[in-house]
């Protein structure tokens, strides 16, 4: 039974990674940049939920909505203020360095407002745990909600991209910004929308993560951010189903590594597997090898 329980926990943790990885992968696919501040948006989202509940006295559901709106706006502001002026810059290194700068900025703002102390984050999930197999297998409410959220988000996003006009515009921009403009697509607007969606998802991920692992510091977003980035690369950066597969895989490997090998070694195992996968498939599991058609 413990195997199944680990597997479910792994899928649940992986679902959070997948939701975060979506933000990396969409921004990379469309703006061709790595937004390393993405992980810190998760942390900000979690603080907003916490503050809305404990300081403003909002009910959890309203607090989550506030956090989603806040992060969406934050994502768009980061994009317009910090990244857009560099979009046509000669070096993509400039964008990368700016992203790292934004990441530290967000961490330090949180430090300034909330302090460095670890805050315990009360779970906002009120779904009861599921007890199966006569008590041998317990699935927590957080786990259930996380997995359901991941499924809903993935499905909604794929339908949005396939069926909506804005989604098709995203695909066009990701392939060829110049040609997209000739179709009448506002490229800057489309990139901003991508950041908005990615950041809204980061808020959701923040809530799920802190409900499952109920502590919060200004650095809470950093490690999950890096792991989700790894998940995105795992699956093939730029690919949405890739983010799902990469995220789940990463979560399962991490939990199995902790359970069966060593909890100190779990992260090393995760990154080791990444290296092996990239040696075999350099573009990731679902990634396309970049080919220029002449």
């Amino acid at each position: 039974m413990s195997f199944i329980s680990y597997l479910i926990n792994g899928i649940s943790l992986g679902s959070v990674y997948a939701i975060i990885a979506l933000g990396y992968t969409m921004v990379y696919g469309i703006a061709k940049m790595l937004n390393f501040a993405h992980g810190d948006v998760i942390m900000i989202g979690a603080y907003v939920v916490m503050a809305s509940i404990t300081r403003a006295g909002l009910p959890p559901f309203a607090a989550i909505l506030v956090s989603i709106v806040f992060c969406t706006v934050l994502g768009v502001v980061i994009e317009t203020v910090a990244y857009r002026p560099l979009l046509n810059a000669a070096s993509s290194l400039a964008v990368l360095i700016t992203a790292i700068g934004v990441s530290y900025l967000l961490q330090n703002i949180a430090l300034l407002i909330f302090g460095a102390n670890t805050i315990s984050f009360a779970s906002v999930v009120s779904v009861p745990a599921l007890v199966l197999a006569g008590g041998a297998l317990t699935i927590t409410g957080e786990t259930i909600v996380t997995i359901i959220c991941c499924i809903v988000i993935m499905t909604a996003l794929m339908v949005f991209i396939k069926k909506s006009k804005a989604g098709q515009a995203m695909l066009a921009v990701s392939e060829d910004k110049g040609a997209a403009q000739l179709m009448g697509i506002n490229v800057n607007g489309t990139i901003a929308l991508t950041f908005a969606i990615g950041s809204a998802l980061a808020a959701v991920a923040g809530v799920l993560l802190c409900s499952a692992y109920p502590t919060l510091t200004p650095y809470t977003g950093a490690m999950p951010g890096i792991k989700a980035f790894v998940a995105a690369v795992f699956g093939g950066i730029g690919s949405i189903p890739g983010a799902l597969i990469g995220g789940i895989l990463l979560g399962v490997i991490e939990i199995f590594g902790k359970a069966y090998i060593s909890s100190q070694m779990a992260d090393a195992i995760v990154f080791g597997v990444l290296i092996v996968i990239l040696l075999v498939k350099p573009a990731g599991i679902l990634g396309k090898n970049i080919q220029e058609k002449v």
Binding site: K165, Q168, A169, L171, A172, E175, D176, G178, A179, A180, Q181, L182, M183, G184, I185, N186, V187, K293
Partner: protein, 236 residues
């Protein structure tokens, strides 16, 4: 009044001046050819007209309106479509989705479907392959798709950048026949070509470009008989 008026534009890439003061005009209903060797600046001019580049000096007027400062994505809804050099179809989208993309700025679904039917009629090959990914089409089919996609916006004027590039002689003839049909159906055409012979044969007037300047202009038939043109561009 000319439909499209280019007034003394100068365009730079960084410090390098690619266009050194060019003026020309396209009147409604005309087919205008812009010919010149590699690197003469033809693509740069088209990009400047549709806003992908902005000129350092000079202006672009469309139907009397100064569009020099209008961003590229707002140009198409004014009635100007651009078939870019190298086709640039969306490889990961299907033929049908590419055509829909061409109608991005249009709202009326019924009208869009009508235009798609019109494009399929003009390019039956596209209809046969409507669910195929554009990236897997042959070069000629991609050119047809790029032209069909541009027609989807229902343009008053269509700018085409070397539509015959890399195509077999039969396909070149086919593409030029289609350009003539498009022109006959009332769309004004600005055609950039290296295939000067073909371009001059369907154009009303032409401009000859050399390293960022217009060196010759006039009636297409007259240019075909011009000795310097014959030597430099027609291989005679």
């Amino acid at each position: 009044m000319a439909m499209l008026e280019i007034k003394d534009i100068e365009v730079y890439y960084g410090m390098i001046q690619a266009i050194k003061g060019i003026s020309f005009e396209v009147k409604e209903g005309e087919v205008i050819a812009l010919i010149g060797a590699n690197g003469a600046g033809k693509t740069t001019i088209l990009h400047t007209i549709t806003g992908l580049l902005s000129p350092k000096r000079g202006s672009v007027l469309f139907e009397g309106q100064d569009i020099t400062k209008i961003p590229a994505h707002k140009i198409v809804s004014l009635g100007m479509a651009h078939v870019p050099e190298g086709r640039r179809v969306f490889a990961d989208l299907t033929v049908y989705e590419n055509l829909k993309m061409g109608a991005y700025t249009r709202k009326d679904k019924a009208e869009i479907d009508e235009t798609i039917a019109m494009v399929y009629k003009r390019f039956p090959r596209l209809e046969e392959r409507k669910i195929q990914l554009a990236g897997t089409l042959s070069g000629g089919e991609q050119q047809m798709l790029a032209m069909g996609r541009a027609l989807m916006s229902h343009p008053k004027i269509i700018l085409m950048d070397e539509p015959s590039m890399g195509l077999s002689p039969i396909l070149v003839n086919q593409i030029f026949d289609i350009i003539e049909e498009v022109s006959k159906s009332g769309t004004t055409v600005l055609l950039v070509e290296q295939n000067a012979k073909k371009a001059l044969s369907i154009a009303d007037r032409a401009y000859v470009l050399e390293t960022g300047k217009i060196v010759l202009e006039g009636d297409a038939k007259a240019l075909m008989d011009d000795d310097s043109i014959k030597k430099a561009y027609l291989g005679e």
